[in-house]
């Protein structure tokens, strides 16, 4: 999954960094000079899950401008509501098509409407 996402956003012109889980992501974000524009976040991860990561990221002023998108198999109504309430900007349910991912990024203003690979 990370490989597929990396390929899609790379081809859209993004430079990509990856982390194993929420904790590793926060550690990594603490070391980078430039905060990424976009975080694609799985729900199910060891140490710190995606929801916990979203809450932590929303609580960190330095990460305020980072767009948070959950990309996960968790597809229950309540999961989506919780993620959005915690501050996630969008939610993509697996499985998804490349077009669907691009459309979500277009909704968020991160790529032009009608972009494709």
């Amino acid at each position: 999954m990370r490989l597929i996402l990396r390929r899609i956003v790379s081809q859209l012109g993004f430079e990509v960094i990856e982390a194993e889980d929420g904790k590793a992501a926060l550690d990594l974000l603490g070391t980078v000079d430039e905060v990424p524009k976009l975080a694609l976040i799985d729900w199910n991860m060891p140490n710190m899950n995606g929801l916990e990561f979203v809450i932590a990221a929303r609580d960190d002023a330095r990460l305020r401008d980072m767009t948070l998108v959950m990309v996960t198999t968790e597809s229950e109504h309540g999961h989506i509501v919780r993620a959005l309430a915690a501050g996630a900007h969008e939610y993509v349910i697996k499985p998804f098509t490349t077009d669907a991912m691009i459309e979500k990024l277009a909704l968020l203003g991160l790529v032009p409407t009608g972009a494709n690979l």
Partner: protein, 280 residues
């Protein structure tokens, strides 16, 4: 429609070999609709002619076009976005003061599996002031599509396509492995089978008509017929939205184009009788 069992089996075999996607019988309408632009581009008069020619003289480029046409371009929610923005930012502020009965009627004239009709309903639900009502009618030539749209049920893959997560959780409920449109939205939307090129049943006129990405499938005479039929059901101060690659210009001069932000819409021209034919 007119696609024969042999032609359908040929296309299904091709798509299965090239993409592993299985087209089951009952998808004839989809195959025909998706292949018509490919057939026209290849200079064939119909999908049947196109396929019979191709079966005599196989052409890998055409095979690829067929597979692409049948495996991409599923219907998105809020497709192209700008027409929906124009509706809330330009059309509603203009029409609302003139509609004393506080009701708007909108037609999704080629509604396919229903995403456009429900997207219009979500737009109205959010944009209309309290005390207003709206009716959305979705029509399609395919009874199968009408039935499908009427269920209001969509798969996980379908709800990912351009539908903001906020709207998904607000207007849909989980249903089996997919999602179903909530009754509050569903009750404002009706679906009816209709052939836009044939004489249309009598209906109350509409304030806004979405006739998007359907004229491209027709020759110019049929375009004229469809625009005349549809135009008769548009109120004199109403708006017609076409697909980004479509226009009434050179086809039916009874409409005039109105620029709206990054898109445009059409409205009945005041001085010219409905159905007047242009030179183009």
């Amino acid at each position: 429609m007119t696609l024969s069992a042999t032609d359908f089996a040929y296309v299904a075999g091709l798509v299965r070999r090239e993409s592993a996607i299985v087209l089951t019988p009952g998808k004839e309408y989809l195959v025909e609709a998706r292949l018509l632009p490919v057939a026209r581009q290849a200079g064939a008069a119909s999908v049947a002619d196109f396929l019979s020619g191709l079966q005599r003289r196989p052409d890998t480029t055409m095979h690829r076009s067929i597979v692409d046409a049948l495996t991409t371009n599923e219907t998105s929610w809020f497709r192209d976005r700008e027409p929906f923005t124009a509706l809330t930012d330009v059309v509603l502020p203009e029409l609302l003061p003139t509609r004393t009965n506080r009701t708007l009627r909108i037609w999704s004239a080629a509604s396919s599996s229903g995403q456009e009709a429900y997207s219009l309903a979500m737009t109205m639900q959010q944009a209309l002031p309290a005390g207003w009502q709206y009716q959305i009618m979705g029509t399609d030539i395919s009874t199968e599509m009408i039935k499908r749209a009427g269920t209001g049920e969509y798969s996980q893959v379908e709800v990912n396509r351009g539908l903001p997560a906020q709207l998904l959780v607000h207007f849909f409920t989980r249903s089996g492995t997919g999602w179903r449109v909530n009754p509050a939205l569903r009750q404002n939307v009706t679906f009816q089978q209709m052939n836009l090129a044939a004489p249309l049943p009598s209906m109350a006129p509409f304030d806004v008509i979405f006739l998007r990405n359907i004229l491209i499938y027709f020759d110019v005479e049929t375009k004229r017929t469809v625009l005349r039929n549809v135009g008769r059901l548009l109120r004199p101060d109403g708006y017609l939205f076409l697909g980004a690659a479509e226009t009434t210009i050179g086809v039916d001069e009874s409409f005039e184009r109105v620029a709206m932000g990054r898109t445009s819409a059409y409205r009945p021209r005041v001085s010219v009788p409905a159905g007047a034919v242009g030179k183009g």
